[in-house]
Amino acid sequence: MTFRRALAYFFREAATGLVRSWKVSFVAVATIAVSLFVGGVFLVVGGNLSRVAERAKEDVRVVVYFDPAAEGQQAERNREMEGLARQAKGKAWVLGATLVSSDEARQRFVATFPGLAELLDRDAEALPPSVEIRVTPEADATAGYDEWIDQLHRSPGVSTVDDDREWINQLKAVVAVVRGLGLALGGILLGAAVFTIGSVIRLTTYLYEEEITIMRLVGATEFFIRGPFYAEGLIQGFLGGALAAGGLWVAFQVTAARMQGALLGALTLARPPSPEDLLLLAALGAAGGLVGGVISLRGENLGEPPVDDA
């Protein structure tokens, strides 16, 4: 029998089997759909957070805040800030440095948060002068970068050094946790789904035991006997994966619409699941189903003829 004809036979038999035992098949499909849906949610959220982190990395700044200068020491403070900016520009990873005086900082704040301007009236020194240093995205991987940050901390007049890397790294950690959680949870659920599919397939073989025995007796090979069951697992898994992909798409559209304008939505739902993501879910489902089928029948002597009598 040609491989193509054998495949056609496998899928025809598998479809018959699915219809014949549709209730247990439905359970298997639903299990794999739920597990892949959960995995898919983490995939989308993790992906979006990761993109936020990547975008932030494109515009990394190190902001060096200075203590407000005492009366009559403004000129000296300016010299210190200019000196620090000059030194910074000498570093290979620095793209530019800008001095921001307290007044400029105040103007920026008021422009950004007009309703909060009165807060600044209570404290004249609320916004200290600073030097904003833009660095390359690869700066943190460059030798000498950490020592430079330490030096900035120790520079005269410096009160705080705000390195964007800190929150970017925190965001990266969140992304890693989300992805790890997604992988772990998705993996566990997928494992359970594979087990369910395997069990369903094994049950189906019991249902077909007599038939398999007959197949053996007329000379069917293992490939021919097992093929329909593997195809059944593959179909169940694919249906589950496709269901999960569809569910994920719908859930994204609904949730994104509801969370429009919210910061959490902007961070986690900026981009919908891509067609590749959805295909991946369907493919994962199919692969999981196939693996479930193969594992469940491994070592099974399907339909070995029973001893009628001696």
């Binding site: 004809r5 036979y9 007599e210 007959i214 053996r216 007329v218 293992e222 001893v307 009628d308 001696a310």
Partner: protein
């Protein structure tokens, strides 16, 4: 050709199914295998198609050592054999055509070839008109004839039958036995297990007798070997009007020609 050399089969727990059995059935021969229930008939047949592995001895089927056959080659052995059982072993959810055409299908025949092979086999057992029926819609005799059609659809070299008439009434049994004789006349070696002495005495020919796992008899009844075909048209009592299994007499020379074509 089937050859057993000092074959024994012991089951765990010390049960002896066969003990030191030696015999051979020649190509084209028709032989009965008889003995009481539990004598070892089924075990002996299962050893032929490698449903069992002997505990000792050697079994050759058409020159192939079945005892040491690797597992992956068993299907290829079975494709050269036809096997018929007492309980028919048909697939209820498949039609007569699908049941009979199963072997051609796994051998790669296309739909037309499958249909031709199945039709030919069903014609031989008189059931070509029940192609679309499902086994539960058939009588016991018809189901057994479908099982026989399935067994001979690829014109096997050897046909083995395990109590094929055990579930049938005497009239239907005789019709089934006649089918086996007809198949044998076309060149297929037939080994038929039965404990029906009346059928054996009526047909005559080679009779192997088992008792408690030992071959206690190997005789030829009526001195007719190879078996002369009994009068197939001889009435054996009232026949089932729905049962059209009576094999049609062949044209002179047809059996010899077809026997020569059989692989």
């Amino acid at each position: 050709m089937i050859q057993f050399f000092h074959v024994a089969k012991h089951y765990p727990g010390g049960q002896v199914a066969l003990d030191d059995v030696t015999f051979s059935v020649l190509r084209g021969e028709f032989a009965f295998l008889t003995g009481a229930s539990g004598a070892g008939k089924t075990t002996l047949l299962r050893l032929i198609y490698r449903g069992e592995v002997p505990s000792a001895g050697r079994i050759l089927v058409n020159g192939r050592n079945v005892s040491s056959l690797p597992r992956h080659k068993i299907p290829y052995l079975r494709r050269t054999l036809g096997v018929v059982f007492q309980n028919f072993r048909l697939i209820d959810r498949k039609t007569v055509f699908e049941n009979v055409s199963y072997l051609p299908r796994i051998l790669g025949a296309d739909r037309t070839e499958q249909r031709q092979a199945a039709l030919e086999a069903l014609r031989r057992v008189g059931l070509a008109h029940r192609l679309s029926a499902f086994p539960p819609q058939l009588s016991g005799g018809e189901q057994q004839r479908v099982a026989i059609a399935r067994a001979v659809v690829q014109q096997p070299e050897i046909l083995i039958a395990d109590e094929p008439t055990g579930n049938l009434d005497p009239d239907l049994s005789w019709e089934i036995v006649k089918l086996f004789l007809e198949i044998n006349r076309r060149g297929t070696t037939v080994l038929l297990a039965t404990h029906d002495r009346a059928t054996i005495e009526r047909v005559g020919g080679r009779v192997l007798t088992l008792d408690a796992g030992r071959l206690v008899g190997d005789v030829t009844l009526n001195g007719t070997m190879p078996p002369a075909l009994p009068d197939l048209d001889e009435p054996a009592g009232p026949t089932n009007p729905e049962d059209d299994s009576v094999a049609q007499p062949e044209q002179p020379g047809q059996a010899e020609q077809e026997a020569a074509e059989t692989p």
